[in-house]
Symmetry: D4
Subunit: 163 residues, 8 copies
Amino acid sequence: MAQVGVIMGSISDWETMQHTCEELETLNISYEKEVISAHRTPDDMFTYAQNAREKGLKVIIAGAGGAAHLPGMIASQTTLPVIGVPVESKALQGVDSLLSIVQMPGGVPTATVAIGKAGAKNAAVLATQIISTFDEKAEQALKAYRTAMKDAVQEMRDELATY
Amino acid sequence: MAQVGVIMGSISDWETMQHTCEELETLNISYEKEVISAHRTPDDMFTYAQNAREKGLKVIIAGAGGAAHLPGMIASQTTLPVIGVPVESKALQGVDSLLSIVQMPGGVPTATVAIGKAGAKNAAVLATQIISTFDEKAEQALKAYRTAMKDAVQEMRDELATY
Amino acid sequence: MAQVGVIMGSISDWETMQHTCEELETLNISYEKEVISAHRTPDDMFTYAQNAREKGLKVIIAGAGGAAHLPGMIASQTTLPVIGVPVESKALQGVDSLLSIVQMPGGVPTATVAIGKAGAKNAAVLATQIISTFDEKAEQALKAYRTAMKDAVQEMRDELATY
Amino acid sequence: MAQVGVIMGSISDWETMQHTCEELETLNISYEKEVISAHRTPDDMFTYAQNAREKGLKVIIAGAGGAAHLPGMIASQTTLPVIGVPVESKALQGVDSLLSIVQMPGGVPTATVAIGKAGAKNAAVLATQIISTFDEKAEQALKAYRTAMKDAVQEMRDELATY
Amino acid sequence: MAQVGVIMGSISDWETMQHTCEELETLNISYEKEVISAHRTPDDMFTYAQNAREKGLKVIIAGAGGAAHLPGMIASQTTLPVIGVPVESKALQGVDSLLSIVQMPGGVPTATVAIGKAGAKNAAVLATQIISTFDEKAEQALKAYRTAMKDAVQEMRDELATY
Amino acid sequence: MAQVGVIMGSISDWETMQHTCEELETLNISYEKEVISAHRTPDDMFTYAQNAREKGLKVIIAGAGGAAHLPGMIASQTTLPVIGVPVESKALQGVDSLLSIVQMPGGVPTATVAIGKAGAKNAAVLATQIISTFDEKAEQALKAYRTAMKDAVQEMRDELATY
Amino acid sequence: MAQVGVIMGSISDWETMQHTCEELETLNISYEKEVISAHRTPDDMFTYAQNAREKGLKVIIAGAGGAAHLPGMIASQTTLPVIGVPVESKALQGVDSLLSIVQMPGGVPTATVAIGKAGAKNAAVLATQIISTFDEKAEQALKAYRTAMKDAVQEMRDELATY
Amino acid sequence: MAQVGVIMGSISDWETMQHTCEELETLNISYEKEVISAHRTPDDMFTYAQNAREKGLKVIIAGAGGAAHLPGMIASQTTLPVIGVPVESKALQGVDSLLSIVQMPGGVPTATVAIGKAGAKNAAVLATQIISTFDEKAEQALKAYRTAMKDAVQEMRDELATY
């Protein structure tokens, strides 16, 4: 049973959203993934959102670019937390994606993360943090993840020392 | 039977969208108006969009601010032309509204006009232009409207001459 | 007899505007295309705009970049609906094009679509939507187009399932 | 025992962050509130973050403006989910706050909401959504909240009908 | 016989453009002023531009806001230098005006000055500088103007010394 | 005797400013060119500006990028018209160059043109327009230039017709 | 003998720069203040910069708005550290000031602080930090200043507790 | 004993920050360099800042990108001057880095330099300028550096003369 639903507006978003999936695997969080387009498959979007809690999802992660309506519209049809990943767009580099996702009106939040790859990774970490509020295993995974991050800095220091 | 549907995400948008209604009256175009919130009443939004053509509407004008999803989501559920009016938002003065409305992905356009009052007026003019493609009375109304605009410039000239 | 006039400020805009023409062909809408420069051939621009309705055009689609005056100036000389396509500019990636096209003063609207290729495609769809207000064949073409879009999402899902 | 910690960088942020507290009360979520300045009391900030989980907090909401380092730095010292509220700044209207909060590097997310009052309200809703992943009472509160939002739209419609 | 033509898109631009006229008077440069709207009176605009050199104008100063097409379109119909003043717009504070005026394509320049009052004053100074290339009286006026500016700084110093 | 002085802040600006020189040659306007750095050779900059009129220059064209102080500082030391060309900068694509050049305080204008190559070409055209206010040969050159621009559009039309 | 020179481009900048002077007094750092305009008194500017070290100044703080050339041009004529304060401008709220000050080319730095009042205060603190590298009294003043800041947070906490 | 501490948030910042180190070597200023991540190694960051003065550092230079908290957080824990270098970020080209570094609240300044390579070089020059306030050798190095810059301009002039 997946804990996290990872959805994206188009297959072209996979280049970004694969980092979410990779990080969820690293953190040992079960997930499902799907293409759900707010504008091309609005009915599927609503069905997905309305069934999400019932089928056991704890968090939905939605990636989209440009006039990125997917995260906000999903959020309007579920009471689960929805994380929005602004995908870098061609002309405006994700500024449009970011504003379309984060500037939600009072009452219907999206939990917005950074534009592009860093945000995609962080969506996975944030979902795990949310799950960790009731699941100690997730908390342990996060602690290990943090330790690995610190170790990575140590490796960087070793590398820098060679320059 | 209304030819144009004027909808807005919140009653607070009325300050802007009333200019659409006033201009439609000037141009003698019948319209209906309603509050339809993409995020608070998503089901109503879809119902509205899906029934629009059938009940005789020719154009939908949708005003919204911030992460303004209303025009684009309406457009995803009807084949009628949808005009989006970016309402000026508090922090970002409508830049978020504009980008959320105009940057639609290929396949689902919104006809976007200027931020705020000028755009609200122009939504009415644009709707009338669309109707004028098959309705000569609308074309005549537009010609009269243009003449009035030129006359207004003449009045400005008289005023300037006094400075 | 062409229903849509597709014009552009320079041959360099063709890279973008060809997507408009391709999509119009897909939607079975007749069109003509021409280079009309607001700044280099202002007289031709006015002649084009003033004759447009008379020669049977229903919609004009104008693509331009930078200080993109073509859509707005065409709109000042016709009562037909004018769709503006902001072409991506070199330094500012189309932000200048977008603002020069969309921020029209009250009375003279342009129907603005997204920057670049997505907008160019959507200009064709929007023109077809406008024509569909009086032409059932266009409405049928739009329905088929929507169905094809949904099918494309299904193909994306199949592709995603393989990752 | 508070479930949510609401912190802000300065007492001047209270004008914004009071909306978080009000909304938490509406949603019946227990909270504590404190001024914690990333730059003036960095030690207190770290102590707060490091003790948060242990003392029972499930979510931290941090509001800050300008070079808004509070949410991200809190996030670096806890594995709890941290919600960042970009407070509207004087010169740049919160663009600096938004980017300083949302553009976190891979590994340390903040759940960013809209600039200003709407974001402050949504931080409360998002915190409740997070708690609802394991607490059915919170889920019920959210459902009631949604119903109240829909009712508010109905009231707007009644008001609009009078114009 | 006026040396400078000062035109503006609307009487509402007079608040800004009066500073141009005041400064031209200070610099003893003859001018005429008129409302010429690119979008509402395009024919008048072309007539004005085409007759400008013939009737003795040396420079045209055009102020406009929003999608500010007036300076660029005037420039397309005359070989006289055209100075563009970006009037501060409501939503975007003149960023749209600035980009619509300055980002002209190769071949048709506008001489763009600062947004708002400072730019309006500077349009007058720049026109005088242009005239000074062949008119020694204008050069003398500019020298006096510079001296007055330095004297004003001295007055500021006296004032500052009192704080 | 050169009529136009073309200066640039660094040899790296030559890639842009060569277009100014090429266009001046096309327009048959004599010019000199030099590297003058506002920040590295401030004394040379002042000497250049102070001697410009005396040695017969009619216009100074200054190209610079980033915190582009060259055009404005030159303008502070001469009463000749100074044209500023915002060179495209690496990180901010010339937005910094544009604002640093155009937003001059009242009293000291720069005649600002578009960012990059288009602006560099237009600086030459604008300089010729300024010279044309007293030199009929320059006016004739501009007319020929305009005719060539129209002919170029005709060639574009022939090309488009083949697509 | 003043340790810090506080200069500003216009008396209108005093509203901002007075905060620099107040804070220098709090920190017990001697200073002088003057109006020095880059564009209106360029010679004075160079004289000031060239004499600064000789007359005993350790740091120059320069405040300016719009196309803010003062800090960078001062920096080009002295090897003393120059702190630039971007004064909030009318139309662009200091974005132009910030970019004109901070985006200096390699070789001639300005030490840029925040836009407006916060930056003006911080210029004083930064100057004191620079002086503290060789002057223990300044270091002690900074320590006391920090303690006062922490105390102020405590007062904020007391205030918040009353809400 | 190093006079300057050069730190960066990630090894990926070395591409930028190496220019700081190179320039410090040219200027004969001793330095140490280290990777210190605000978000991954917050404890190390505080330790570094708190020990900096004691171990003899005079200036800290901190480079970081995106939500760049390193310079400001270092500054919160030391009274030494801290220079912030905004590293160019992927999506937003360093605008986020710049605002996160420069927009510090009153009381805790960072001395911010330009985005990217130019800023990295200038951080070294600025550090040397700070040291030059008490160290004449540094002042001499700066004078030689300035002379070399002027010589470089002369070489550019020779190159330009060949075009």
